[in-house]
Amino acid sequence: MSDDNLSALLLTFKLALIVTFLLLLLGTPIAWWLARTRSRLKGIIGAIVALPLVLPPSVMGFYLLLLMGPDGPIGLFTQALGMGTLPFTFAGLVVASVFYSLPFVVQPIQNAFEAMGDRPLEVAATLRAGPWDRFFSVAIPLAAPGFLTGGVLGFAHTVGEFGVVLMIGGNIPGETRVVSVQIYDYVEALEYGDAHLLSGLMLLFSFIVLLTLYSLDPGKRRTRR
C-alpha cells in the first residue's frame, strides 16, 4: 500500500479515536440530561442534537466553514484564544466531526439511561450512594450496552464521514486528507485501482463494525438468561 493511502488510513483512525473519546465525554452528560430532565428545553436540545441525522453534510460543512471562518462566531472565539481559525486543521476536523456524529453517540446512551428508569438510582440512594456515586457505580454500568453502541456508531460514523470533511478540510495530506476524501480523489482522477483498494477496506470495516454491533445486541443477551 502506498504511503499516501497509509497516511490517510492512519489519519482517519486517529481522528475517529479522538472524536469518539470526546463524544463519550461530551455526549454522556447531554444524554443524562435528556433522559432525566422534565425541562421544556428538552425538545429543543434534543432536536438540535439530532439535526445532523437529517441535515445534508454539505449544509453542515457550509455552515461550519462560515461559523469557524475568520468572521464567524467560532472563528472569532478561536482567534481570541490565539488558536487561529479551525478550517484546514486537524483540530477543525475534530470539532466538525464531534458535531456531526453527536446524535449517533447521544441517542443510544440516552435510550439506555431511559430504559434503566429511576428505580436503580433510588435503590442506590437508600444504600448511601450520593448523586455522583450513583452515576458512576450504577447508571454507567447499567447503561454499558448503550455506551458500547454509541461508541461504535460514533467511531464508524466518523470514519465514514465525507461531506463535512470535504467542505472544511482543505485536503491536506497527513492533516485533513482522510480515507473518504482520498477515495473521492482517486475516483475523480480516474485512478480506479487505488479507489477499489480503499473502498474495499471501508466496506469490510463497516461490515465488521455492524456485525459486531448486532452480535452484541443487548436485547439478545437479555433473552439468553
Binding site: 457550509f62 466553514l65 462560515l66 469557524m68 471562518g69 475568520p70 468572521d71 487561529g84 481559525t85 478550517p87 484546514f88 470535504l166 467542505m167 472544511i168 482543505g170 485536503n171 491536506i172 476524501v181 473521492y184 480523489d185 475516483v187 475523480e188 482522477a189 480516474l190
Partner: protein, 253 residues
C-alpha cells in the same frame, strides 16, 4: 377577447402550429463542468429560444461525468473542464471521432476577498503573511494544475507547500477564499469577473505564459450521435455571438 393574456395565448398557439421548426425540435442532455455553469445557463436559454430545442443541463465535476459516461450515463454531450477527458472518451470509442473542439480557454487569477491583500504583480506570494493559500486539487482540476505551474515558475512550490489547502474543484476553492478561511487563492477568472471588472476584493490576473493553457473541450457522445439537437448545440457553441458571450464571462478566446 382582447385581453393581453388572450393575445399571448394566441401568439403561443401560432408559434406552436406554424412558427417553430417543430418537426425537428428535440432534447439534448448536456453534462457541463461546474466552472462553466453560469455562462452555460445563459447560452442554453438563447439556444432554446433560437432553435426550439430543449436542453437538459447537469453540472458537476468532469471526472465524475467521465466515470458515469463510461458506465452508460444518458448524456448527449460533455462540456469538460479539460481536454484530457474528452480525448480519452474518444479514444475509448465512447464519443464521436472528430467532434471535439475547445469551447473555452480557462484563465486563473490570484484573488483575495480582502481589498488590499493582492497586488497587481502577485508579489504577495513572496512577501505576504498569510496562513492559507487555496488552489484546486492539481490532480483533479486543470485550474489546480495551472496554479501549481504558476507557483513552480515563481519558485515557490516547495516553500509554500505547508500553507496550501486544496479544493476538490474550482468552485470549492472559490468558497474557501470567499469565506475568508483562506486569505487568498487561485480561482477562475470567470468566478470573480463581472462586466469585465473584478467584482470584489483584490486580484492579480496571472499572465497566460505562466501556466499551460486550460483548454476546456466539448465532445459529442455516442448517445447523441444521431440527435440533431446535440449537434445543433455544439454548432451553436462555436458561433461568433456565443464566443463573444463566453469571453465576456472571463474565458480566453
Amino acid at each position: 377577447m382582447s385581453t393581453p393574456i388572450a393575445r399571448i395565448i394566441g401568439a403561443v398557439l401560432l408559434v406552436t402550429v406554424f412558427g417553430s421548426p417543430s418537426s425537428q425540435a428535440g432534447t439534448v442532455s448536456a453534462a457541463v463542468a461546474a466552472n462553466f455553469a453560469a455562462p452555460m445557463k445563459a447560452i442554453a436559454a438563447r439556444f432554446e429560444h433560437d432553435t426550439g430545442h430543449r436542453v437538459r443541463l447537469s453540472f458537476g465535476a468532469s471526472g465524475r461525468f467521465f466515470a458515469q459516461i463510461r458506465h452508460g450515463a444518458p448524456f448527449d454531450v460533455l462540456l469538460s473542464a479539460d481536454d484530457e477527458k474528452p480525448a480519452r472518451l474518444e479514444a475509448a470509442g465512447l464519443a464521436v471521432p472528430g467532434s471535439r473542439f475547445t469551447y473555452a480557454l480557462g484563465a486563473i487569477v490570484l484573488w483575495s476577498a480582502r481589498p488590499d491583500l493582492v497586488d497587481a504583480q502577485g508579489r504577495v506570494l513572496e512577501t505576504g503573511t498569510f496562513r492559507h493559500l487555496a488552489l484546486a486539487n492539481p490532480k483533479l482540476a486543470p485550474y489546480g494544475e495551472a496554479a501549481r505551474s504558476v507557483l513552480q515558475k515563481r519558485g515557490l512550490w516547495s516553500t509554500l507547500r505547508g500553507r496550501l489547502v486544496y479544493g476538490e474543484n474550482i468552485a470549492q476553492t472559490y468558497q474557501f477564499v470567499a469565506s475568508g478561511n483562506a486569505e487568498l487563492g487561485f480561482v477562475a477568472l470567470s468566478q470573480v469577473l463581472k462586466d469585465g471588472q473584478i467584482r470584489a476584493g483584490s486580484a492579480w490576473r496571472v499572465p497566460a505564459e505562466l501556466y499551460p493553457p486550460i483548454r476546456q473541450q466539448a465532445v459529442l457522445l455516442n448517445r447523441g450521435a444521431d440527435n440533431p439537437a446535440a449537434r445543433a448545440l455544439l454548432d451553436y457553441l462555436q458561433s461568433p455571438a456565443v464566443r463573444r458571450l463566453i469571453r465576456h464571462y472571463g474565458y480566453g478566446p
